[in-house]
């Protein structure tokens, strides 16, 4: 580890230690926060009991499904839009604005249409993640060398074959940035939906624990989600660095 990494570890350790001390010595009321060591112990007990296994599978499953749908659909739509420059020019203002508007406020609208089930959660997850993948696909395709399209024409490859066997591998390093963002956005949208209104899931569990004043359970579940999200983001980031090395530039 580099010296900077050691200092970073030290900063994080001191911060967690200070929080632990402040909770233990009553500087922070137990009704506000439980000590980090209690969160870990409580989380271990919950995981051992297996009582949240169903919710874990459901929440992570919906996140994975939303991200996968967004990636596949986003790639297909990206290909389509890329092939039509006039449409793309028209859609540009929409892409530039998409993440600036709180798309999430339409979640209740989806509940009104589809009822209180996993469908609205999945849809808001896809809607949030989709555009990041479309934008990444467009960026990737812009960087496919023109000579490859000529090769495809010389070999009389069809549209689908060109897309899957040529454009997809050539743009792959850039597409991965889209995958990373899609997973991250799907995570946020699914947890937020579950937290605000959902039949079940980890977000709902946290909201219930909050309503029951069950702080040790609430903080344990929060810790679980934060650890999972950090782990997923770090794994994707590590992959992104590899791809970035392959395309010979910094990750975007």
């Amino acid at each position: 580890m580099t010296p900077v990494a050691w200092i970073r570890l030290l900063v994080i350790t001191v911060a967690i230690g200070a929080l632990e001390g402040a909770c233990r010595f009553g500087l922070i009321d137990r009704r506000v926060m439980v000590p980090p060591s209690d969160m870990v112990a409580s989380l271990a007990a919950i995981l051992r009991s297996g009582s949240i296994n169903g919710d874990i599978v459901q929440t992570l499953g919906v996140i994975a499904a939303a991200a996968a749908l967004a990636v596949v659909l986003g790639f297909a739509l990206g290909l389509f839009v890329h092939a039509l420059p006039r449409l793309r020019a028209g859609l540009d203002p929409l892409f530039a604005t998409y993440y600036a508007v709180p798309i999430f406020i339409f979640y209740p609208v989806l509940i009104a249409i589809f009822g209180l089930s996993l469908v609205p959660i999945l849809l808001i997850g896809v809607a949030t993640a989709l555009v990041a993948m479309i934008i990444a696909t467009l960026n990737g395709l812009d960087r496919v060398p023109p000579v490859l399209s000529k090769v495809a024409r010389v070999h009389r490859m069809g549209t689908v074959a060109t897309a899957l066997r040529l454009q997809l591998p050539a743009a792959a390093p850039y597409l991965f940035t889209g995958v990373k963002l899609s997973v991250s956005y799907a995570f946020i949208a699914v947890i937020a939906s579950e937290f605000i209104l959902a039949p079940s899931g980890l977000g709902r569990d946290i909201a219930d624990a909050y309503a029951d004043f069950n702080n040790s359970r609430m903080y344990a579940l929060m810790l679980f989600l934060l650890i999972t999200a950090t782990f997923v983001n770090m794994a994707l980031h590590a992959w992104d660095l590899r791809w970035a090395a392959r395309r010979g530039r910094e990750p975007s």
């Binding site: 900077v4 200092i7 970073r8 900063v11 994080i12 009704r31 506000v32 926060m33 020019a89 028209g90 859609l91 540009d92 203002p93 929409l94 530039a96 604005t97 993440y99 600036a100 508007v101 709180p102 999430f104 406020i105 339409f106 209740p108 609208v109 509940i111 009104a112 249409i113 991250s184 995570f187 946020i188 947890i191 937020a192 937290f195 605000i196 209104l197 977000g203 946290i206 909201a207 624990a209 909050y210 702080n215 609430m218 903080y219 929060m222 989600l225 934060l226 999200a229 950090t230 983001n233 770090m234």
Partner: protein, 247 residues
């Protein structure tokens, strides 16, 4: 010429979105999704009511306070970490990791610390906005070309002049990008907070309309917020492009 084409494109998108809305309305029926014309007429009536004004004022107050906090704290952290190399190297990965977390998970903690009132919603909004403002300000300072500083030295500018006439203008475009993204996520933070356990604000109005099955009101408020966010973003984007051209 380009401006007119962009205006035409934006108008075309708006028309396509409204047509899709109309089509979906025919597909799922009146109760699930009212059509665009009655909903927009309803919105025009709704924004003149006192009930809407009171909730919009609650959102505006929380949003303005959250934005002020996010900008002040974000800029302070960004300047510190951008100017001090070691702090930046240590802190940046921590900030990036925090930025990509689903912050909604932390909302119960914010509620326990700040309570159910407006201060909790403000704190949650600010929590969203601080990180992008800090990260982009830090990047802006690091990206200042050394040539700028050498020029300032060779012209014997005082340190105050260097800051005001060289450093500040050089980092402004990127800082504005940070402020724009900060604005977006702060608004999202405030609205999310209002959707959970609040009794005021436009986010509450949407959730309340949903529980009363008033789909028209729910969609009208959502469309209002959508339009507001899009306009605010367009304004800052315009400012950003102008500054980029100048540099």
């Amino acid at each position: 010429m380009i401006a007119t084409r962009r205006a035409v494109d934006t108008l075309a998108i708006a028309i396509v979105l409204i047509l899709m809305w109309q089509a979906l309305h025919h597909l799922v029926g009146e109760t699930a999704l009212p059509g665009p014309v009655p909903t927009l007429t309803y919105l025009a009536r709704l924004i003149t009511t006192g009930r809407f004004a009171a909730n919009a004022a609650a959102t505006a107050t929380a949003f303005a306070a959250a934005l002020l906090l996010a900008y002040a704290i974000g800029l302070a952290i960004g300047v510190w970490m951008g100017a001090h190399g070691l702090s930046g190297a240590v802190g940046e990965p921590i900030l990036v990791a925090l930025y990509s977390l689903p912050k909604i998970t932390l909302y119960p903690m914010i509620l326990l610390i700040f309570g159910l009132g407006i201060s909790g919603r403000t704190a949650f909004g600010a929590l969203h906005g601080i990180l992008p403002v800090a990260l982009l300000t830090m990047a802006a300072i690091r990206n200042i070309s050394p040539v700028h500083l050498r020029t300032a030295r060779s012209m014997r500018l005082s340190s105050w002049q260097t800051v005001m006439m060289v450093l500040f203008p050089a980092m402004l475009p990127e800082v504005i990008s940070g402020l724009r993204i900060g604005l977006t996520v702060t608004l999202l933070g405030v609205l999310l907070a209002e959707m959970f356990a609040a009794k005021q604000g436009l986010g509450f109005l949407i959730m309340n309309a949903m529980s009363l099955l008033q789909t028209q009101e729910m969609i009208a408020v959502a469309v209002f917020l959508f339009t507001f966010a899009a306009l605010a973003n367009a304004l800052l984007l315009w400012l950003e492009h102008r500054l980029h051209r100048r540099v």
